[in-house]
């Protein structure tokens, strides 16, 4: 079957890809372009932050709103882009097998000389490429606009942060893929991945404040993208490898589960 399934899946989702990419670029550009005025209002901002309840900053994952990395972490990388990318990834991952199957469209494909494992792997690879496009768009947008909006973060750090948020999405997409491949139910796949994303996000933020919940962070994909603070420290091998490996393992589980069951019943 070569790469037909891969190519076709990307093409079938081209509209969605364009939509998410434009959305991510717009959000990144919009919030990025607020930075110059935010930095001018630095003192006022710090005073405002002082007035917030204790722990609020930490729970939101904000370190500072008066530095460019702190500001971008609080807006683009810490909340908006991960949310958008996770939604895109979960929607795609749940559609890749379960959604297609529930629509009745998978039967025709699977009646061709393709293997179950091959279809899952090709669609998973296509989903990864799909997510990489808006992920790189975040990097590209900030890299291009940087000089104009006083964002003077080195490119490798921007790339590290963009990779981090893309990996968050990849992990949740892989969860949706695996649950969908195992159950054949799109709603179950969507639900499982959405719950995990919310728990992971809250777990990561609450864990910053409650010592007893510290362990929760290690189960959260958000932790690996944010804790190393890539805008300040650049790439972190461990924090990149863990979510990438998790996505790979989930994809393998998806393939194995799909290979074992009846299709379309």
């Amino acid at each position: 079957m070569r790469s037909s399934v891969f190519t076709r899946f990307l093409r079938d989702n081209l509209r969605a890809l364009v939509g998410w990419t434009v959305g991510v670029a717009a959000v990144t550009a919009l919030y990025g372009s607020f930075w110059p005025s935010m930095s001018e209002a630095g003192d006022a901002m710090d005073a405002y932050v002082e007035s917030l309840p204790e722990g609020f900053m930490e729970s939101m994952g904000w370190t500072s709103l008066s530095t460019v990395d702190g500001y971008l972490n609080a807006t683009v990388f810490g909340l908006l882009v991960p949310v958008l990318l996770v939604i895109a990834a979960v929607s795609l991952g749940s559609r890749a097998i379960a959604g297609d199957e529930e629509a009745g469209a998978l039967e025709l494909l699977m009646a061709h000389p393709v293997t179950r494992v091959g279809v899952v792997l090709q669609r998973a690879a296509a989903s990864a490429v799909f997510l990489a496009v808006p992920g790189l768009t975040v990097f590209g947008t900030l890299a291009l606009l940087g000089p104009a909006i006083d964002v003077d973060i080195p490119l490798d750090r921007l790339l590290a942060a963009s990779t981090g948020v893309t990996l968050i999405a990849l992990v949740h997409g892989a969860v949706a893929l695996a649950v969908g491949a195992a159950t054949g139910r799109r709603a179950v796949a969507l639900g499982a991945a959405a719950v995990l994303a919310v728990v992971g996000y809250l777990g990561n933020t609450f864990a910053r404040q409650v010592e007893e919940l510290e362990w929760l962070r290690f189960g959260s994909a958000f932790h690996y993208a944010m804790a190393p603070d890539p805008l300040v420290n650049g790439f972190d091998a461990g924090a990149t490898a863990v979510p990438a490996a998790a996505a790979a393992v989930l994809t393998a589980i998806a393939a194995a589960a799909f290979d074992r069951r009846d299709i379309g019943v």
């Binding site: 076709r8 093409r11 079938d12 039967e107 025709l108 061709h112 000389p113 009846d262 299709i263 379309g264």
Partner: protein, 309 residues
């Protein structure tokens, strides 16, 4: 030429359970190379379940299955490479034109020439430039037929192939089936209506509630078919004139209308009716549920096999 070629499809004691519900109860089937085989049964009898097992879309719970000498469970890809399949319910939702979908499906099989796709589309009157999503049921069925036939498979497995096709296209389709047979290839087609396969099939099996209740030559099957016939005459007729005719039973005469059941040829009934002026002659499609109960049953198993046994 010595021994007969090996059968193209065989199943032995094939069973399938969906959870605690059993859909197939030990199915034995044999389809010979080069024949057109009708797989008949009412909706829900297990036709699609059987077909999906043959393609390894679903897995059997017990028994054996062989397609082109291979176990679909172990050699699914090799089986599917040689098979053209038309699903019972074809869902295609792409916004892209039919031509592109068919090219993609051809690619999955190592490529099918656009000329071949165009030729089949022309025969069936399918417009390849229209998006598949907006196609009518009949046109979607044409897309399904083109993809099933286009790579000239050794075995065609067609689940309810004529549904949605108008009578003219049904004829064209039957012609394609005959050509496939003339080519030495095999066609396995299911239907819930005897009429759809009787003109083209060499043999047929009837499945009912997950069991094969008969496998035989199409001619013999047609002989067995019972149909409800109703004739209306210009004037009231005498009941006595219609009793005791060959192949005719359950005669009911009320005024100018005669209702009866005909087993096999209606010759005697037609000749007798011709003595009067006939205004209407209705003959219902034989009911597959009934097909085997008039002849095979000795009155012991009128309700058919019980699912609890």
């Amino acid at each position: 030429m010595t021994a007969a070629p090996p059968p193209v499809i065989t199943t032995r004691a094939l069973t399938k359970n969906y959870g605690r519900t059993r859909a197939l109860f030990g199915l034995d089937l044999e389809v010979r190379a080069g024949e057109v085989f009708g797989f008949l049964g009412p909706n829900g009898a297990g036709k699609s379940t059987t077909i999906r097992i043959l393609l390894d879309l679903i897995r059997r719970s017990g028994g054996e299955a062989r397609v082109l000498g291979l176990d679909p469970r172990a050699d699914g890809v090799r089986v599917r490479r040689e098979v053209g399949y038309l699903p019972g319910e074809l869902t295609v939702a792409s916004r892209r034109p039919a031509r592109e979908l068919l090219a993609y499906l051809g690619d999955l099989r190592g490529g099918v020439s656009p000329a071949r796709i165009g030729e089949l589309a022309d025969r069936l009157g399918l417009d390849l430039s229209r998006p598949v999503r907006g196609l009518s049921k009949g046109n979607k069925q044409k897309v399904g037929l083109v993809q099933a036939f286009m790579h000239r498979p050794r075995l065609l497995v067609l689940d309810e192939p004529t549904s949605g096709l108008d009578p003219l296209l049904q004829q064209e389709f039957l012609e394609m089936v005959r050509e496939t047979r003339a080519d030495g290839r095999t066609v396995f087609m299911s239907s819930h209506v005897l009429g759809e396969v009787q003109d083209v099939a060499d043999r047929a099996a009837v499945i009912r509630r997950g069991r094969i209740v008969a496998t035989e030559d199409m001619d013999a099957l047609r002989e067995r078919a019972s149909r409800q016939v109703r004739i209306r005459f210009a004037a009231p007729v005498d009941a006595a004139g219609f009793t005791g005719l060959e192949n005719v039973r359950d005669v009911d005469v009320s005024g100018d209308t005669v209702s009866c059941v005909v087993d096999g040829s209606p010759d005697a009934l037609v000749k007798r009716a011709a003595r009067h002026t006939v205004l209407e002659f209705d003959s219902a499609e034989p009911d597959l549920e009934d097909l085997f109960f008039t002849h095979y049953n000795n009155g012991t198993d009128r309700e058919g096999p019980s699912d609890a046994e």
